[in-house]
């Protein structure tokens, strides 16, 4: 009986003819999500424009030198240190998927069909997707936690006190390094995948020449495909980097905030990156 009391009193307080409390909650729930998404998108657009505006600092040679140190550090952490895991996954894909596929294609059309399938599966889709997932799981989470930690320890305030814009020190290197790293990871993934596929095919067919194998695949790659991959790297890299900064900078005073920031940013990055890939692939490759 007691549990019913608040409900009945709430109902008594409502104006006559107004929807019941639960309806308001449902309306509020459905209204809040689009509002949050809209604010998130505006934040992302805002951060991109802030990064572009801060790029003017790069005109000064001394500041450019400071930037380059941070940029190279970011590129090394993001691109170079990911080569191992990127290469391992590329070897698995090449060995398990692409070399098996070779066995199922009739010999008469193998040179054209296999190369075409390699480009469609690996170059267009798997390379970008897996590289993006590695970038998100390895580097973007690290950037989010680093920014969260810097916020917690008030290092942005220290920079402000030194007359240095934190955007220059932390946003710009990520803004430029992530797309470049991602594009290099695409290329590396494709190359290692191609190499491992060749090695496993060679075990079953030692007569096949690597140069012919490579030439057949390169023949299928058009400028359009390279451009689309570059756009995927540019948009995907920028989005992943900016989302990391966005959520990292939201952390306030506790490690709990940093944990939330990492999980929220990873979710947002995966959704954004998959969306960018799917939309670009559909736009570019649908006949």
């Amino acid at each position: 009986m007691n549990t019913l009391k608040p409900e009945s009193s709430e109902r008594e307080n409502q104006p006559e003819g107004s929807p019941p409390q639960n309806s308001w909650r449902i309306i509020e729930f459905f209204g809040r999500r689009p509002r949050e998404v809209a604010i998130f998108l505006l934040d992302i657009i805002g951060l991109i424009s802030i990064a572009l505006a801060a790029s003017k600092h790069l005109v000064k040679p001394k500041r450019r030198r400071i930037f380059l140190n941070l940029f190279i550090r970011q590129l090394y952490n993001t691109g170079v240190r990911a080569l191992y895991i990127n290469g391992m996954i590329a070897i698995f894909i090449g060995a398990l998927l692409m070399s098996r596929l070779f066995d199922y294609i009739p010999q008469q059309v193998i040179s054209t069909q296999y190369s075409y399938l390699f480009v469609v599966i690996v170059f267009r889709e798997l390379g970008p997707l897996i590289s993006g997932i590695i970038l998100i799981s390895r580097s973007a989470t690290a950037v989010t936690s680093e920014i969260g930690f810097l916020r917690m320890t008030r290092e942005f305030q220290v920079l402000h006190g030194l007359g240095i814009n934190p955007v220059f020190m932390f946003l710009l290197p990520v803004f430029f390094a992530f797309p470049i790293s991602l594009f290099l990871m695409f290329i590396y993934f494709d190359f290692v995948c191609l190499l491992s596929a060749y090695v496993f095919i060679w075990f079953s067919d030692p007569d096949i020449s690597f140069l012919t194998f490579l030439a057949n695949i390169l023949e299928q790659i058009t400028l359009n495909e390279v451009s689309i991959n570059a756009v995927k790297a540019l948009l995907g890299g920028v989005m992943i980097g900016i989302i990391s900064i966005h959520f990292g900078a939201k952390a306030a005073d506790s490690f709990d905030d940093v944990s939330h920031a990492i999980s929220n940013s990873t979710t947002a990055q995966l959704m954004s990156f998959f969306l960018i890939n799917v939309v670009l692939s559909i736009l570019a490759y649908t006949q």
């Binding site: 001394k62 930690f149 220290v158 030194l162 007359g163 240095i164």
Partner: protein
């Protein structure tokens, strides 16, 4: 050269901290602000430095308001020494000390190194610390490096938040003497919150926080 604080008002959303604080100081002056736990000393210094929102009033250095957001020279007018942390974790100690000059000036690396070694020698910071990162330092070393980074830009207003924590009396006295030595070469007003008798004895004036204002402390 003069420093003048006019009608400084510092307010947090739920709490008025300082109301109508005014203060004038001349170069070569060290002003100690006697503080107790949670009486707002740190907030006062941060408010003067322009680190806080909810601050109104003026902090005039040679007639230019430091709190005006458009002053590009503020990094060279004010040095701030944090009570704890205050160094950038991505850089080593040497890079932390040199960063303001690297970012804001066209000085060569050799000129910056000369300045850095000068302030480090003055404050007895061992060269062996240069390659260390902030998390390797203890509290006293961190504060001393903070002080070196603040002094390297030759500020006209130096704000120090409780220098004494963890320092022996001899080390604190020595550091204060060296600060005075630097002040003789490069005139600046030093505003230092403290609970230390040594700092208050060496200061030219001692103020205390009372009724949301700064008042002269009795000797």
């Amino acid at each position: 050269m003069s420093i003048e604080i006019r009608n400084l008002h510092i307010e947090y959303p739920d709490h008025l901290l300082f109301d109508n604080v005014s203060l004038s100081a001349t170069p070569h002056e060290i002003i100690a602000i006697e503080t107790k736990v949670l009486d707002g000393g740190t907030s006062l210094l941060k408010g003067i430095a322009g680190f806080l929102s909810g601050v109104s009033g003026q902090v005039l250095i040679d007639g230019v308001d430091l709190l005006a957001p458009t002053d590009p020279e503020s990094a060279f007018k004010v040095g701030y020494v944090y009570e704890e942390r205050g160094l950038l974790s991505i850089y080593n100690i040497y890079q932390n000390i040199c960063l303001p000059l690297q970012f804001h000036t066209d000085m060569t690396a050799a000129e910056i190194a000369q300045e850095a070694h000068y302030v480090c020698d003055l404050l007895q910071i061992d060269d062996g610390l240069f390659d260390q990162h902030p998390h390797h330092l203890n509290d006293v070393q961190t504060r001393t490096v903070n002080l070196a980074r603040a002094l390297i830009v030759k500020p006209r207003l130096l704000l120090i938040d409780e220098l004494e924590g963890g320092m022996s009396d001899e080390f604190l006295q020595d550091t204060m003497e060296r600060l005075k030595e630097r002040q003789r070469d490069h005139p600046m007003v030093v505003l230092i919150t403290t609970a230390s008798d040594i700092v208050m004895e060496l200061a030219d004036r001692v103020l205390k926080i009372e009724n949301q204002d700064l008042v002269e402390a009795l000797a």
